[in-house]
Subunit: 264 residues, 2 copies
Amino acid sequence: MSDTSEFDNATEVAPDGSARIVDGWDIGGNANGGYLLAMVARRMIAVAGRPDPITITGHYLSPGKPGPVQIDAAVVKAGRRFATVQASMRAGDTAILQVLGSFGDLAAMEGGPAYANGGPPALPPIEECRGRPRVQEATSVPLMDRIRVDLRPQDTGFAAGTPSGVAEVAGYFSFADGRALDPLALLLVCDCFPPAVFNLDITPGWVPTVEYTVHVRARPAPGPLRCVFRTRFVQNGCLEEESEVWDSAGTLVAQSRQLGLMPR
Amino acid sequence: MSDTSEFDNATEVAPDGSARIVDGWDIGGNANGGYLLAMVARRMIAVAGRPDPITITGHYLSPGKPGPVQIDAAVVKAGRRFATVQASMRAGDTAILQVLGSFGDLAAMEGGPAYANGGPPALPPIEECRGRPRVQEATSVPLMDRIRVDLRPQDTGFAAGTPSGVAEVAGYFSFADGRALDPLALLLVCDCFPPAVFNLDITPGWVPTVEYTVHVRARPAPGPLRCVFRTRFVQNGCLEEESEVWDSAGTLVAQSRQLGLMPR
């Protein structure tokens, strides 16, 4: 684990809210939506005075391009358990991302009754998985140099023109530089796998996110995360994609759902 | 269908944003969260100049009590396809609900590729279902006079102290006065069934909502809706509850997910 991780450097926000979308966290020139949300969340955490995002929602208004941005955040209500904050990211006059989130302290929430109807996805050993394949030769994927995504082999057929037919993708996540996994990182994790709809009989392409919500359910234990992404319904040009993320100890650490637009 | 439905009257908002939480939409004195969200969404629709909520998220800050409230809404971005709006509901100095949503025109979005991994819940004929049972004799449920919720019989054991053990509840929804079902009504529908965790071995009680997101996927056809609510994971005092809502023609019309707190 590095003291100055790429992720921490790339999500830095000055006390006045000025920040920079760093080159290298994009796919085909558009910064990853989870990366952008994590940057905004860092500012929201500072304003909230609470360590952890508990539930956070971003609406994506324009693609994020490398360069300076302004992040403004304001507390809506500071309660006993949670503080609710609204925030925005703008590049000049262009609105990029609008966010609403509630922040708290996961360590203080531990315990109580537990119930699980489901568990981590079945994955082969990490050395039998494979990296995120490129689906369009013309599209660069610098994001994949920052993170390590090891996919379940049967979910990678889309790259060879043989999609599985089921809109599901699963695999492991780590940072390429070994940065520790924490609640902030989970906001990136839940948005950085290949879209599950790539495994349908469609032409893979950009799946713009309209809205993306993450629930952080626990602080992750060290080690690679086990992640699964599923789309159950595509209709009227929209899809929902949901994820579950599990830590190495078998604890559910995050769930997400986003509304996206089908590639055109 | 009535020209002046209870729901339309209860969600009325004046052009200056003044409105009223109407008595009779509560459980034990706290107004239903879906009702409150629908009221705020009506103001957002007016400000957006778009007919339909497409994805909307509310963070619940204080219980809503009958009486006057102020709803403020502002457009964050008006795009070609969607307009994104942020809004708040306050009662005097008390913040009740903070909302972020994107609005569009579902009629203009129809068509395109379709995929479904799942379908409507299996339900017996409506006349074999039963109304929402009361679980605490001391708690009044006036909401149930406004709506008609007909539950699948095997999901109602919690009322007799024999929960099914699986956190799932399914049934039909209509308005008591026969009001038509539309996207605005879906914001209520996805929050007005008994919590799915009532079917676990817990003492039923108030499940406060932290955050509640609805994706409206299509305009409903006439007739009762088929709804299913599931909680898959309870841990650290929190639960997620998700719903799917299907119209009488078998079309998925809404999905929701909320983060709630376990009853104490």
